[in-house]
Each structure stands twice: as structure tokens, then as C-alpha cells.
Symmetry: C2
Subunit: 77 residues, 2 copies
């Protein structure tokens, strides 16, 4: 029974909401694997330490990745 096999995904709820790059502590990208068939993206927030799962397909995540790159070039000349 393939369904009885426990999968170990990190995310239960996945958000499409945007994340402010300034409030972001880090972003973890976890590839699909044998233990979880989904590509997962977990955002850790700065002050609260709250972890939020983001939808890899969402526009929000594409904008976030872009913002991170720009942020870097602004602050590290």
C-alpha cells in the first residue's frame, strides 16, 4: 500500500502571500526527494523566528528571489 508509507514533508500549509525581504532571516529551498515528493520553500522570519512555507510556483516567491539579488548589490557595492 503505497499510501501507508510516511512522507516527511516540512510543509503542511503553503502560502501564496508575499514576504518582505527585509523581514526575512533566511529562505530554505528543499528539493523533492524520496522522503517528500514536493519541492519546498521555507521562509524564516527575522523577529518572530516564525517559519512560513511558500509556494515555489507563486509570483511572490519569484519577486522575493529577485529582491534578494537586488538587495545584495545595493548593500555590497
Amino acid at each position: 500500500m503505497p499510501l501507508s508509507r510516511t512522507t516527511r514533508c516540512n510543509c503542511i500549509q503553503i502560502s501564496n502571500r508575499s514576504v518582505n525581504p527585509k523581514s526575512l532571516e533566511k529562505l530554505e529551498l528543499i528539493p523533492a526527494s524520496e522522503s517528500c515528493p514536493r519541492f519546498e520553500i521555507i521562509a524564516t522570519m527575522k523577529k518572530s523566528g516564525e517559519k512560513r512555507c511558500l509556494n515555489p510556483e507563486s509570483k511572490a516567491i519569484k519577486n522575493l528571489l529577485k529582491a534578494l539579488r537586488n538587495e545584495r548589490s545595493k548593500r555590497a557595492p
Copy 2:
């Protein structure tokens, strides 16, 4: 003396080499902050647990992000 201020970057050496997405445990994206002026990308490898700092500007990292997204859609129909 601004140079005497300790910065807490995670990366000392940064690689431009490519990483096989199948050997990747996870990828951490750490935005520039007060403690480190650089945007850092840390790859954790599956078997060895080895951590490798990647250059956010490199072609390798752009290809890796693209591969992760494709990997997901292949394995999770």
C-alpha cells in the same frame, strides 16, 4: 574604524562551481543584513552533509534554481 567591526558572514570561500540538484539536501538563501553585508547562498550536500557557499551571481546558481523547479514538477504530477 569601520573595519574593526566584526561581521558575521557564514561564507569565507565562495564557489562558482555547479552543484548537482540530485545531491543537494537543501539550499539556504540568507539576505544581506546588519551582521553580513552580502547575500549568501549555502548548499548542504546530501550524503556528506558538507556545506558549500555558492556565488549568487553565478550561472551555476541560476541553473540550479531552474533545475529545482523542474525537478518538482517532474516528481509531483
